[in-house]
Structure formats: C-alpha cells, structure tokens
C-alpha cells in the first residue's frame, strides 16, 4: 500500500508549510508541543507499570485464556481472532491497559498477522468509552445519563465487528 505510506509525510509537510506561510515560529512551537507530550508520557507511566504487570499476571496465570476460551465459540462464528478478545473487553475501560494489551498481542503475533491487524484497527478506531463518559458527565454534574451507555457500547461493539470485517476486506 504505497498510498497510505504517503499520508504521514504529506500531512507533516503540509502542516509545516502552512505554519511557515502563516509566519508561526515553527521551531519554538514544535519544542513547546513536544515537551508537553513528553510530560504526558511520564504522567501515564505509573499507571502503565501497574496495569502492564496486572495484565501480565492475568495472562500468565491462565485466567485470560480461560475467559478467552469461554468467549471463543461466539468469536468463532464471527471469524474474530481469539487473541483480540481480551482487548475488546479492556479497550472501553482503560486506555493504558488497552495499550499494554495491544503491545503484547503484536509481540506474540506479528503486527502484520490477521490478529495483529485486527488489534491495530481496534486500537485505531475505538476509544476509552467508560472513562470518557465518566469525565464528561462528571464535569457537567449529570446524574441521569439516559441512553448514553447503550449507544456508546453499541457503537463499540459495531467497531469491533467492523474492524475484523474491514481487515478481511481491505488487507
């Protein structure tokens, strides 16, 4: 896929060219933005350490394969890779947890394998649903969230199923 490899260079070149045209101090702004994200990386590190250890413990104790085994028949019907099942359960709950789980999937299977691709598409097309709902409604002091969760979870499940179908169709 030559075309998708051109997306990042084109976007970066365009953003810098536009910044130059608008007389933005590109170097200074770049440094400020980069520093901000480096701080974020360190902010999430403690959570990543505890979550990755927990996921490692659950995986090596065999609990995850037990759970996967239980869900496998349903996944089988849809042609969904069983390796990605734990990711679908964790993805709506924890961003760092899902990231850790994703890394372990593409370490075990290759990123270009079917399971690795499905996991990549899931990570690239879904969000930390429950966290988002909690942060936004918490901020607006909303107690009755009505049909928010039903719609959000339905969207997530659609995303998981379509991720798998899209990998079969496009890749």
């Amino acid at each position: 896929m030559k075309l998708t490899s051109a997306v990042i260079p084109a976007v970066v070149a365009f953003i810098f060219a536009y910044g130059w045209y608008k007389k933005v101090d590109i170097f200074e702004e770049f440094l400020a933005g980069a520093l901000e994200n480096i701080k974020v990386s360190f902010d999430i590190l403690p959570a990543l350490i505890i979550l990755m250890t927990c996921i490692g413990m659950l995986t090596s104790s065999g609990s995850v394969s037990l759970l996967t085994g239980l869900l496998a028949p349903a996944a089988d019907v849809l042609g969904f890779p069983p390796e990605c099942l734990p990711l679908t359960l964790l993805r709506p709950l924890s961003g760092s947890g899902a990231l850790a789980m994703y890394e372990s999937i593409i370490t075990d299977c290759s990123p270009d394998s079917f399971a690795g691709r499905v996991a990549s598409v899931i990570m690239g097309s879904t969000e930390t649903t429950f966290y988002t709902v909690a942060v936004y409604y918490g901020a607006a002091k909303v107690k009755n969230i009505r049909h928010t969760l039903v719609c959000a979870v339905a969207a997530d499940i659609t995303g998981f199923i379509i991720s798998c179908a899209a990998v079969r169709l496009f890749l």
Binding site: V7, I8, I15, G19, V24, I26, E29, F30, A32, L35, E36, N37, I38, V40, S41, I44, L45, I49, M52, T53, G56, S60, S61, L99, A100, T107, S110, P111, D112, R117, S120, V121, M123, G124, S125, T126, E127, T128, T132, V135, Y136, Y137, A140, V142, I145, R146, H147, T148, C151, A152, A154, A155, D156, T158, G159, I162, S163, A166, V167, F170
Partner: protein, 185 residues
C-alpha cells in the same frame, strides 16, 4: 493468584511480576519520541490557525446534528473545536474543550442533572472518536517490524465511521424511549 496455584503456573507468574514493570518502561520509551514529535507538529497546526480552519469545514455538518443548539453560542463553538481536535489526534487539547462543551451545553439547555439528546450525542461522538492519523498504533506497528505500519488506516476509518453511525442513529432512535427532561433537545 489462586488460579495460578491451581494451574501450577506460579513460576510464570513470578517471572511476570519481575519483568512486566520493565516492559512498561520500554513501551513508554518506545512511544516517547513519536508522541513528542506529533505533539510538536500538531502544536504548529494549532498555532497557525489550521485547526480552526478545519473546524469551519465541519460546522455545517455538526449544525444539523446538534439541532436546537445556538450555532453562535459558546457550547457549539466548543463542540466544533473538540471534534476537530479529536479528529486530528490532539488528545491533550480535546479533553478540556470537550469539558467546556458539555458544561456549556448543560447550561444552555438547563439540563439540571439529566443528559439532553445533544449532550448524549456529544458524549457518544467522543467515545467513538475518529482519528485521521492513528499515530500511536502506527508507531508501535513500525517498532514491531510491520512492513506497512499505516496500511490499517482505511480499515480504521471505515470501522470508526460505522461505529459512529450506529451510535448516533441509536441516540436519535432511543431518545423517545427514555422519558425525561432532555427529550428532543
């Protein structure tokens, strides 16, 4: 723990506890460089007004989705900027804008603790957020030796678009089922 004892995989468990924290640091360092790079690039896009310009493109579409929200109000402005920031992968900027958007929406529609249809729609959009360049995933794929780290892009966009369509359709369909103050707003 108990499960590990029963399945006699306690040695694996022990090794996992000893090695997992190091793996976490490794993962975070793997991402550090590209996170910093995109933070820098997107900050240039923000400061040059490019993000605001892209936001203008989405205004007409969002106006039809958030019927009844004052299109010149603070709430609508924050909604447009939050969705654009999400689309461009500006996670750090998107969350404060989103919080502002939902608080302003709540005020404008005097929700009094009950989510209005517009608020539900806004939160659902944020939980099924479409990202134009999945930078984190592409970085990790590249570092794990993928032949084409970005080949997943079309599949990601289709999947996210389907998820969003289902989510938003349900927001409007189920609005009548959940009786309460927020109906139809």
């Amino acid at each position: 723990m108990i499960f590990a004892f029963l399945t006699s995989s306690i040695i694996d468990l022990n090794n996992e506890i000893l090695s997992a924290p190091e793996k976490a640091v490794g993962l975070s360092f793997k991402l550090l460089g590209s996170m910093a790079f995109w933070g820098g690039v997107l900050r240039v896009a923000e400061k040059s007004g490019l993000v605001a310009k892209i936001a203008q493109i989405f205004r007409p579409l969002l106006k039809r989705l958030f019927v009844g929200v004052d299109e010149n109000g603070e709430a609508f402005g924050a909604i447009v900027m939050n969705i654009t920031a999400n689309l461009m992968g500006l996670g750090n900027a998107a969350t404060p804008l989103g919080i502002k958007a939902i608080c302003e929406l709540s005020k404008e529609q005097s929700s009094k603790g009950t989510a209005t249809r517009s608020m539900v729609a806004f939160v659902v959009i944020n939980t099924a957020s479409i990202q134009l360049i999945p930078t984190t995933v592409a970085t990790l794929r590249a570092s794990h030796g993928s032949m084409a780290p970005m080949e997943i892009l079309p599949a990601c966009l289709v999947s996210a678009a389907c998820a969003l369509t289902v989510g938003l359709t349900l927001v409007f369909l189920l609005d009548r089922l959940f009786v309460g103050k927020g109906r139809g707003l």
